[in-house]
């Protein structure tokens, strides 16, 4: 039982940064914008969070700063692809390059710093309950925040007028424009939300999970997050499940190694990626699910004055 509870806890901790970044990218893509700069935004979020946490001794301020810094970077991206209508794929890649460079530049004096990470939740009675306490009431606060954010996003996207507008803008910008929706403004906001979430994900890694700052610490998680969105066919709950599945498979292969198997660790390390491909293929076989959820105008620029 302990091993099981442990594995759940580890999976949640490992999957949370992926889930957060994927959620942000999902909303961005729902509005029809593809932002491949998640890795760069996460890196900037991580460094900003760490710098502020070091200077203020407050992990929470750090996390807020991380989210804000990544949002600023997202605004730069939004300006280039939405106002200047540049290609989104290339601009996103350039954003990653820029973000990683920026982060290592401003973070140079902080690699040597140590912080007290964000402590895990500890409720007086609940957290100390056997099994239940460990299973439900002892995680990092960010993990609960992530779950709440998912629930909120799911609700907004499917049940509210705002969600309808986002989806309409992602489906057909000309039609949305024709009925008087502010296409560009909606897209700006969605890109901004994506930046906030990516920044939060990076901040979680830097001040709660590892906690440290060093160049290259995001190590490709931003790319996984982008992949998870497609994997989830643009449905928040599937993105959440996908993120934790990915975390689980990664941890499972470490578990298998620690038991002492003869399987090559390289092949075990491939598993999460192969699993993603297989699940995606299975989902995509049903054309309807994809067509119903994929934002039709994804990646295409729109200019209202044309």
């Amino acid at each position: 039982m302990d091993a099981f509870v442990n594995l759940i806890a580890l999976t949640l901790a490992a999957g949370t940064p992926l889930a957060l970044a994927a959620l942000g990218e999902l909303v961005t893509e729902k509005s029809g914008v593809l932002n491949l700069g998640v890795e760069g935004m996460m890196t900037v979020g991580a460094v900003a969070a760490f710098i502020v946490a070091v200077n203020t001794h407050s992990p929470w301020l750090g996390i807020a700063a991380g989210a804000a810094a990544a949002a600023v970077l997202a605004l730069v991206f939004a300006f280039i692809v939405l106002s200047l209508m540049a290609n989104q794929v290339a601009t996103g890649l350039a954003l990653s390059l820029f973000g990683i460079g920026l982060a290592s530049f401003v973070g140079r004096d902080y690699v040597a710093k140590v912080i007290d990470g964000l402590p895990a939740l500890h409720l007086p009675v609940l957290s100390d309950l056997p099994i239940v306490g460990a299973l439900f009431f002892s995680y990092s606060p960010i993990i609960y925040l992530t779950l709440a954010l998912f629930a909120l996003t799911q609700w907004v996207l499917t049940r509210t007028r705002a969600g309808l507008i986002v989806r309409a803008v992602g489906e057909s910008p000309p039609a949305a424009h024709a009925i008087g929706l502010p296409v560009i403004r909606v897209r700006y906001l969605c890109v901004l939300f994506g930046g906030l979430c990516s920044g939060l994900a990076g901040a979680y890694l830097a001040v709660a999970y590892t906690p440290l700052w060093a160049e290259g610490m995001i190590a490709g998680r931003g790319w996984i997050a982008v992949a998870l969105v497609v994997f989830a066919t643009w449905k928040p709950w599937r993105a959440l499940a996908g993120a934790y599945l990915f975390g689980f498979v990664t941890l499972a292969q470490f578990q298998v190694q620690a038991w002492g198997t003869a399987i090559s660790p390289q092949f075990l390390s491939m598993l999460p990626y192969l699993a993603t491909i297989v699940v995606l293929t299975l989902i995509s076989r049903n054309a309807l699910t994809v067509r119903l959820n994929a934002p039709v105008s994804l990646g295409k620029p729109f200019h209202p004055g044309d």
Binding site: A112, R221, W259, G260
Partner: protein
């Protein structure tokens, strides 16, 4: 747009560049030239780890030789085709003595060394030499053995967890030496290994560390470049042995000791001989004896008796009385690798591709 306008635009760009070239910098003046010493690092320097220790040594020689030398480092140089250009650029720019500090720089260093016969090249952890290229390495396993003694005495579950990067002999040697150190004082000790397939990925290292703790390891150590594993130990309230650098500020309670690298002595000697004009390519494999490797600050929670044990073993290794790999030694499949009393040869060490008794699992490359 059509071809003509496009090529036009490019032409103009080129013209602009040429105009800018007219502003190029003047050449530096050459008076009493200090010895220029270049360092090529594979990763950012950071605050701990492989490259950090090399850079500490660079700073040490800078301090020692003052204006007699001038040092320069190039960090984050990828192993591959780019490394050769960076090394050549250093040679071209008058760097007489060049240290390349990652295994993957071996063949690029050799190629440049052949083209610049008057420069001196020192490559870390490889095995090739030339008239003007030597290599140097440290017997990291000696430190690992000592750390194993501490781990063997401090573990309660008799299980240590080892987060490893890639299955190359240097790493395997470390795992085996650590295990033998542990079992020299605790015959029931077991070592579990998780390979993360990366030199540097704090997230994965953390996950591997957490996994090992969840499987009963109460002492963690690592052969990877970040501080994530000792930080994980601190968070999980288990012990840790740090590697490369002292990481006690990241894990004041968890870190029992650190197996630390020290290149200062060696670099000082090399620079001195280059200044004196007596530099010769060498094949150096230093250990505790040459001050290349040490077991860092030992945590006060380690009982004095254990510290004494470590110190004795350290002195014995330095004097040659003790070797971590002396028979009888079996691998973990029961095959005899060393007959009783037999000491392993350096050749066999450098090709080590098996786990010794006490390591769980099977080496992935077999």
């Amino acid at each position: 747009m059509n071809l003509k306008t496009l090529s036009m635009s490019v032409l103009l760009t080129a013209v602009a560049l040429c105009c800018a070239s007219a502003l190029a910098a003047p050449a530096p003046d050459a008076k009493t030239e200090p010895l220029k010493v270049g360092f090529v690092y594979v990763s950012p320097i950071g605050d701990a780890g492989w490259t950090f220790q090399h850079d500490q040594a660079r700073l040490a020689i800078e301090k020692k030789f003052g204006n007699k030398i001038q040092t320069k480092y190039i960090e984050s140089v990828p192993e591959g085709a780019d490394a050769e250009r960076v090394i050549r650029d250093l040679a071209q720019n008058g760097y007489k003595l060049i240290f390349t500090t990652s295994f993957g720089f071996m063949n690029p260093t050799l190629k440049v060394a052949n083209q610049y016969p008057k420069n001196y090249f020192e490559h870390a952890t490889g095995f090739k030499t030339a008239k003007n290229m030597g290599f140097y390495n440290a017997r990291f396993y000696e430190g690992r053995y000592l750390a194993g003694i501490i781990a063997g005495k401090m573990t309660k579950t008799n299980v240590a967890g080892y987060v490893a990067s890639y299955p190359i002999p240097e790493v395997v040697m470390g795992i085996n030496a650590f295990t033998r150190g542990m079992r020299s004082v605790n015959p029931n000790a077991q070592v579990k290994v998780v390979w993360v397939n990366s030199w540097y990925d704090p997230g994965r290292e953390r996950e591997a560390a957490d996994t090992l703790v969840s499987q009963g390891a109460d002492i963690l150590t690592h052969h990877s470049d970040s501080t994530a594993v000792v930080q994980a130990a601190e968070a999980k309230k288990v012990y840790a042995i740090a590697y490369h650098s002292d990481m006690s500020k990241y894990a004041p309670h968890a870190q029992l000791a650190a197996v630390t690298h020290h290149w200062e002595n060696y670099y000082t000697g090399v620079v001195q001989s280059a200044l004196d004009g007596t530099w010769k390519p060498d094949r150096v494999w230093g250990g505790i004896k040459g001050g290349f490797i040490d077991v860092g600050p030992i945590n006060p929670v380690v009982p004095a008796a254990v510290v004494a044990l470590v110190n004795t073993a350290k002195a014995d290794i330095a004097s040659g009385k003790l070797h971590p790999f002396v028979g009888p030694m079996r691998d973990n499949e029961g095959k005899e690798r060393l007959a009783p009393g037999q000491t392993i040869s350096d050749e066999a060490l450098l090709k080590m591709d098996y786990y010794v008794e006490g390591v769980q699992g099977k080496l992935p490359t077999k």
